[in-house]
Amino acid sequence: MKLRIDSVSVAHARRLAGTIVDPVADFIAGHSTLSVERAVARLCGVDGVDSQGVPLPNRLVDALPERELGVARVLGAALAETGRSPQQVAEAVAAGEPLPDPSRTPETAQRAALRPWIERGLARIDAVRARRAELLVRLPQAPPPLLYVIVASGNIYEDRTAAVAAAEAGAQIVAVIRSTAQSLLDYVPYGATTEGFGGTYATQENFRIMRAALDDVSERLGRYVMLTNYASGLCMPEIAATAALERLDMLLNDSMYGILFRDINMQRTFVDQHFSRQLNARSGIIINTGEDNYLTTADAIEQAPAVLASQFVNEAFAHRAGLPDEQIGLGDAYEIDPDLEDGFLFALAQAQLARQIFPAAPLKYMPPTKHMTGNIFKGHLIDAMFNLTSVMTGQTIHLCGMLTEAIHTPLLGDRALALENARYVMRTARHFGDEIEIKAGGRIERRAQDVLAATLRLLEDVAQRGLMTAIEAGSFADVRRPRSGGRGLEGVFAKHPAYWNPFAEALAGEPVAATR
């Protein structure tokens, strides 16, 4: 099954995405954020909370005498002066001791003192990545679309039970939905948690609990079950750091989602997404972008070009952070109005378009939500059409739709029914897409060509205005966000000429080239 699309237009769209992203990349290069610095502290081994429950990475970074230098310089100075470990320095700060003035020690001494901790941090990330690679060889996954389900009880121990049951029922990826409040917290909660609304807090301990349970069931089933969480909100880099250490396999990570849908300041998000993606690149974590969000509120037909444009922009940002195509899970969703004649054809066109334009990307396909009504019987049927579209167009990451979408967070039985639906459809139609040809000049192909043409117009407009100005004007999802508005701006700062982020330094490789 192949659409005839104009490769010159596709190449032009990619160039435009580069034009859009480059000025933002310059801004990113000159700035850091509190969450970036806390991620650096975490990777140097700082963990735990003070007596009030405040995470030590927060205590340490909040105590910086001059944050423009970055936490590494000051931490290096403290290590050089006292011979303590980074953790001991953070504990001393929490006990009320001030951090040293970094101008007292030479920069070379600071770098030398921190060097072993940096190497240790990188070695931990690399060891985790190597361990995943080894498990994937020994416990191979079933072929894609990889069936992805969410657990969201609020209690990590109930989530664990649900995750293991889902894996047994055929799930290949389990995502733990976060509590609705977490995206706006400017810290990462600590320890195992048993209370949350609409989801479970992302904490390093919760990651560990879930990873251990999934490792156990992976061994039992003879196939590796992946774990997913959310590097979104105000703590993208810190979540990326903890996920790297606890062997999460995927992270939701979008370059604009926080800005548009959580009203997080755009400067903050752009800087945070870059460092978090650098960490994802090193740790072998596949990112999932959030284009589905464009469709959940607005009309899917109308917003189709915005989805494709966002995929190009996400790809360009991801390449600049060093992510190879194989780790860029660009998003889309099956949100076509079931009352629309030929809606299935339009969904097929969009999904196949993304497949052909991003051939090496592990595309993430999201299920219907907007038109799910509580009529579970019809909902199960719509999900089956979504499953068919996914297998026909060779999507990689397939978030199973729940018949009870719009009623409650999934019950254990809902998940089993959803997996059964997906497995049936994908088995019975496994090679359907290989066996049929799309009619030249027919409805599906014309729709794909229209979407591509409209995407070019949108990208040209955004390139001309500049991304930040375009977001201010509401070019994406009809949401307007001012450059200095939203949450988290106070945590953004311009780097001092002597600023040092040893991990960004180690992770900055050659930008990855775009797919032809």
Binding site: A165, E168, D263, T296
Partner: protein, 242 residues
């Protein structure tokens, strides 16, 4: 008196499906059957029982209920008559109220799902029906997601709004009820309840639930902006006339 209708009047047939936290076996099917019988159903037939995980089984059950209900005893207050068009609402506000009505909407508590409140308030609206922002008769403040109840009350007080639209999508562990209740109580405590119209919205909200929580109206799944607009305009016009 009525009972559920399978294929014959008064047969009382219902379908149930549920999960039990036990490995599947024939004994599990029997456990499901007895469980449904103990709920008061008769003629229980386990149509399908099977494992869905090593420690969980899923069942589809048909059974009959002896319970019947007298529908004439049931009354559900509807949130005010038939909806007017946007132009008619604007005309009503202009003629009978004579000023713009200030409306504030928010997803309260930790809820981050603005899809409902956006459908009602945003210019673009829902299902081809414009949102309140497009009406001449309303001045709309959409505060968005995760708005603390206290902040919403303070905003309503400072801007002297005529109506508050509180939205809740997440219902886990009763968080929606807790938030709705907190808002009603804070408004009462701030002595604002008398002059501000209080509306609840969300996919699981019914007008009956809203009435029980002390709200003026509740709007559930599929509500059009014009229905909310009509309710606000009519209610305030009635109040002004009184």
């Amino acid at each position: 008196m009525i009972r559920p209708y399978g294929d014959t009047l008064d047969d009382g047939v219902v379908q149930l499906s549920f999960t039990l936290p036990i490995p599947w076996s024939e004994a599990a099917d029997e456990a499901a059957r007895q469980l449904v019988a103990q709920m008061g159903f008769t003629d229980v037939a386990v149509a399908d029982g099977r494992p869905i995980a090593s420690r969980f089984s899923f069942f589809v059950v048909y059974a009959r209920t002896p319970v019947a209900i007298d529908v004439s005893t049931i009354s559900v207050p509807a949130a005010g008559g038939e909806a007017l068009t946007m132009d008619a609402v604007d005309a009503l506000i202009a003629e009978r109220i004579g000023r713009k009505l200030k409306v504030v909407g928010a997803c309260i508590g930790t809820d981050a799902h603005t899809v409902g409140i956006d459908a009602i308030l945003n210019m673009k609206g829902y299902q081809g029906h414009s949102g309140l922002e497009r009406y001449h008769g309303f001045e709309v403040y959409n505060l968005g997601s995760q708005i603390a109840v206290d902040d919403l009350v303070r905003f309503a007080q400072e801007r002297e709004v005529d109506a508050i639209l509180a939205s809740q999508v997440v219902t886990q562990k009763g968080s929606d009820i807790a938030n709705f209740t907190a808002l009603a109580e804070r408004l009462e405590a701030a002595q604002l309840r008398g002059r501000i119209l209080l509306l609840a919205g969300g996919p699981r909200v019914t007008n009956l639930l809203a009435a029980e929580l002390g709200y003026d109206a509740g709007f559930g799944r599929g509500t059009l902006p014009s229905e909310v607009a009509t309710f606000i305009a009519r209610r305030i016009a009635e109040r002004d006339a009184a």
